[in-house]
Amino acid sequence: MNSNLIELRDLNVAYDGKVVLNNVNITVTEDDFIGVIGPNGGGKTTLVKVILGLLKPISGKVIKHRKDFEMGYLPQYNDVDKRFPLKACDVVLSGLMNKKGLFGRYSHNDYRKACESLEKMGVSHLSQKHIGSLSGGETQKVLLARAIVSDPALLILDEPDTYVDYASEGEIYDLLKRLNEKMAIIMVSHDLGIISTYIKTIACVNKDLHYHASNIITEQQLQTYNCPIQLVTHGKVPHTVLANHVHTHNHK
């Protein structure tokens, strides 16, 4: 039995009187890899922001089952100001901020950790580059390096595949799969097709949250979950991906 990390209990979130998340319950355990899917405006980003503590629910609880564990966060691509005068290395270092206290002097050890983190993402050569000069895929890898530099127990990714070309996309998912050996991952995605071979379970969010304890889901199931998304497949035949991961996925 895996130990629980964080739990959302009877959670309701509303903006300007409009309900965005309705009575949501979910528990994240320490080796989870949850793919969060759902239509645009369905509350996916809201869900991760509540878990991160960036948004306060109007009712319900966010329960941390372990004290003071770190959370790493990859925000949506467009939330990051790429013209801000920072080098890639500094971006990664910013992930170690809280350990520095207010005066924020970085030790050699911190610089080493930042470099290692970039290396893990395969982008150590970009360390001294300004973030504005990086491509979409490179930026996502640098931001991912920032998210993991503090050795989080839970990694939260909001659409890590935006502006990423097809080759980098596979690389990023392979990296995540390896990271999942050490940390729980929650990943928001608009495209179930590609991620389904990497994730372990699925959370369908469309105001309500339906937890699906497997990475295989059919259109019929999505319908009963009231989660109208398209199952995008990249093979020639529709549903290729769905058929594929019956072989690749091993139920633990």
């Binding site: 903006y15 300007d16 922001k49 991160l52 503590g53 960036l54 959370m71 966060y73 925000p75 939330d79 990051v80 100001d81 790429k82 013209r83 801000f84 005068p85 920072l86 080098k87 500094d90 971006v91 270092l93 910013s94 992930g95 901020m97 809280n98 520095k100 207010l102 005066f103 924020g104 002097r105 970085y106 300004h130 504005g132 000069s133 990086l134 491509s135 979409g136 920032r146 503090s150 502006y163």
Partner: protein
């Protein structure tokens, strides 16, 4: 008239000191403003402070303090409201902007007796800075320099990605309030140098110049200080030489440097000495 002669005047020493200290705080705070994309917010704070000037005139105390109180109040108010989803941020700033100006005009109008020279506040007059103005600017520069030296990284990281800083339990609100206060004070104390209408260029033009050549936050701060001092000083000399308002000549000096820097960059790109990173940026923003 040469430089040596100018320094024989007492007022000129004050003027140069004011230029120096205004450059220090404007260079550092301006970099923060530009990086965080809060130029419009700063414009709002600047103009809203006119309300404080008007009220101070009416009640008979030093307008600088009225303006400072108003500016800090506006900065902190907008800072707090912007987190509340109360209304669209830029609309809020627009309302605040005009409300402050209207209040200022109203109070100056109903002030009995001599109506003060509005032009001084609207367009600046660095030659008439008082010893008090210099002390205020000097004190502010010291606070700004110390604050940014101590908290450089944390200010920068919060400015870069506030949400991320929040997830790491950084004191985002406190730091944000404190920096907003410094922004407001820098603007108000610099009004004497360039005026309400022109002061924003003191906080943006030097940064824009350095940003053409460097993407390093620290470099932008340091060189902006140097460039804004050169700009103010050159503007002063022009103002003396051809007898034009100093506020305008300072801005023109800064804009001239901007144009020269831009052309230099163009030439350097053409002959391949300097590779600008802008080309890759264009499709992302």
């Amino acid at each position: 008239m040469n430089l040596g002669e100018l320094f024989q005047y007492d007022f000129f020493t004050n003027t140069v000191l004011a230029a120096l200290f205004a450059s220090i705080s404007a260079g550092i705070i301006g970099t923060y403003i530009v990086s965080r994309r809060m130029v419009f917010l700063s414009g709002g704070i600047t103009h809203a402070s006119f309300g404080g000037i008007g009220i101070a005139y009416y009640l008979g105390f030093n307008p600088v303090f009225g303006a400072a109180a108003f500016a800090v109040f506006s900065a902190v108010g907008i800072d707090l409201f912007s987190n509340k989803r109360f209304m669209r941020n830029d609309s809020l700033i627009g309302i605040w902007w005009s409300a402050g100006m209207a209040l200022g005009v109203l109070f100056i109008y109903i002030t009995p007796g001599y109506t003060p020279n509005l032009m001084t506040y609207l367009f600046g007059s660095i030659l008439t800075v008082t010893a008090l103005d210099v002390y205020l600017l000097a004190g502010l520069s010291i606070v700004v320099v110390v604050f940014f030296m101590l908290f450089h990284k944390i200010i920068m990281f919060i400015a870069f990605d506030q949400s991320y800083a929040r997830t790491h339990n950084l004191p985002v609100e406190i730091m944000s309030l404190f920096t907003s206060t410094l922004v407001a004070l820098t603007i108000v104390f610099s009004i004497k140098v360039a005026g309400i209408i022109l002061v924003i260029s003191l906080l943006t033009v030097p940064q824009a110049i350095v940003n053409m050549y460097s993407y390093n936050y620290k470099n932008i701060m340091l060189y902006s200080v140097v460039l804004s001092f050169i700009g103010i000083f050159a503007g002063l000399l022009i103002s003396f030489k051809i007898d034009v308002p100093s506020g305008a000549s300072i801005i023109f000096a800064l804009l001239f440097m901007f144009l020269v820097a831009r052309m230099l960059l163009f030439v350097m790109n053409k002959i391949g000495v300097h590779k600008t990173v802008k080309s890759k940026l264009n499709n992302k923003q």
